[in-house]
């Protein structure tokens, strides 16, 4: 009985809603520049990690997530800086471009599975990075600067980012729990079986990739506005590797895991800023420790904890009733 078969807990939903509300209130009320950026980073990282995880539902490790984030960011940056497009339109354009790009990518590469698909994504991301560095129109190595949100967004950008990310996370979650989501997971588990029922596997896989990429397109566009500068190193494959780490450490079995992993590691990264070597050692240590002691991530730890509580209750309950029985009816236990 898989985890997806369990009914989502209502308490869990309330806790998540509560945390979201708290974060939203913080993002609107805080004047602290750093706090604003911090909240936006966590939100964007969480959504990006969730997008990577979404493609994990069909069983593919999509390293190209970083590439689509970059495509969207560059598209948004170009139309904003060079053509003066309005804010909302440029964000939407970014996502559309990422979606279209992922569609083309998917048609070509989703026939390939497993480590090979992962390596295609890896090469594709490296390729896009190299193209950016050689292409003067997008600023080659220096990238694009001056991507500002319009003045009416002053002070509201963090709230917008948090809201959009939250909305997308909810959408991805609902999609995962829907029949479509079940279809994705069926493909992951045994695609020949699904094909034998008459489903066009490639089309469904492409759909999954496109959904995830449109979402990550939002991340890319918003990143452009959040950082106001983008350059090729921002979208290297190492970004995707970090996202993977967020997912694994948070726990890949639930979307909340991606958020937890992203939040925890972003905080850790920020806390270690400026200590150079120690930053890397502690960060790496956190990842290694998680993998060794909590391979199912934080979600896994939580689940095991809850199960152990439930088992303990069951044990005490049943042993109480056994005592009662054997004393009462004189039935001997063989």
């Amino acid at each position: 009985m898989g985890k997806s078969a369990r009914k989502p807990s209502r308490t869990g939903a309330y806790i998540v809603a509560g945390i979201f509300a708290a974060v939203l209130i913080y993002s609107v009320s805080t004047q602290n520049r750093y706090g604003q950026s911090f909240v936006m980073w966590i939100a964007l990282n969480s959504l990006a990690a969730a997008c990577l995880r979404f493609v994990l539902l069909i069983g593919e490790k999509n390293v190209a997530t970083a590439a689509f984030m970059g495509i969207s960011a560059y598209a948004t940056a170009i139309v904003t800086v060079n053509y003066g497009w309005p804010f909302i339109a440029s964000i939407l354009l970014g996502s559309v471009v990422a979606g279209v790009g992922s569609y083309l990518f998917g048609i070509v590469s989703l026939r390939i599975k497993g480590p090979y698909f992962m390596l295609i994504g890896f090469s594709f991301t490296a390729l896009m990075g190299l193209i950016y560095t050689k292409w003067d129109y997008v600023g080659s190595n220096a990238g694009i600067v001056g991507i500002y949100a319009p003045p009416y967004m002053d002070g509201w950008l963090p709230a917008l980012v948090v809201t959009l990310c939250g909305a997308w996370l909810l959408a991805l979650y609902l999609c995962e729990r829907s029949s479509l989501g079940k279809l994705f997971q069926a493909i992951r588990d045994n695609d020949s079986l699904v094909a034998s029922v008459g489903v066009n596997i490639i089309s469904v896989k492409i759909l999954c990739l496109v959904i995830a990429s449109v979402a990550v397109g939002f991340v890319g566009s918003l990143t452009a506005f959040t950082n106001t500068i983008i350059s090729p190193p921002d979208f290297q494959f190492s970004v995707a590797v970090f996202l993977l780490a967020y997912v694994m450490i948070g726990g890949q079995s639930h979307i909340v895991g991606s958020v937890l992993g992203a939040a925890m590691l972003t905080c850790l990264d920020q806390a270690l800023q400026g200590h150079s070597e120690w930053e890397q050692i502690v960060f790496g240590g956190a990842i290694v420790t998680s993998m060794l002691f909590a391979p199912d991530g934080l979600i896994g730890l939580w689940t095991r904890f809850v199960e152990r509580l439930a088992t303990a209750r069951w044990n005490t309950a049943s042993s109480a009733s056994e005592n009662h029985l054997s004393r009462g009816t004189g039935v001997s236990k063989q």
Partner: protein, 296 residues
Amino acid sequence: MGLFIQLLFNTLEIGSVYVLFSLGLTLIFGTMKVINFAHGQFFATTALLISSSVPMLTGPLGWPVWAAYIASFLASIVLIGVLSVGLYLTSFYRFTRDLLGSFTLSLGILFIGQGILLALFGGAPRSTPRLVSGDITVLGGVVNSQRLLIFIVAVAVTIGLNMLVQRSRIGNALRAVADDYEAAMLQGIRYRRISCYGFALGSVLAAVAGGLIAPLVSAAPAISDDYLVKAFIIVIVGGLGSIPGAILASFLIAAIESFGGYYFDLTSAAIVSNILVILFLLVRPRGFMGQAVKVV
């Protein structure tokens, strides 16, 4: 013609180091079905160790360069061997055949390794004195003697490795495990032990590559990344798990870099390499000579 010969020699020189580096990676993938992202750390560690100990030995202790070099080389190899076995026993063995888990784990190890190297050696590049100096002119192309030495050693190591894998019992076990680990276990091959040997062997190969390159380039903790990316490309094109494939692909990629780098520039050459990889993955995922790996 002279230019062609020159570029050809460059290819052989560059390629021989790539061969050693990627052989290790492909060996590890073949036996354990694991991608070790931190493979470059063994490479960089050896290079840095040698570049720091050789000046110490030749300076105050007055050893001749070649003796200092060989001594530190051997010491580093042994250290890396022990380190990799330790790494396997404590962490990697739990993630054999788990692509995602091992990838993430090796990412963590990569960070720790980078941090330790930075702390111990600092970010600045260091150089090692060359063993032999001067150039030799062969067939109209100029070959640097040091690079020629590296090429010869690399060829020797590759031949030795090939003999090990093809003829010895351990080699047979490694190949058996790469083909079908369950059948190998049924035959009495101890999978965990063989994986450990495979991992150690692959890592030591990376260390050898690092040791050979120390006199040539300025060793710094950052060199692991450049080589790692190229090694991934080589391993895919050659076929994950295939030794002859890795050798062929190393020289192919080196040729692209050498000729492409001369006629165009290095970035374009890298673009071509990446496109090549993508094409290979789409058309023939198992690379030149990889096994038709059933993706579990």
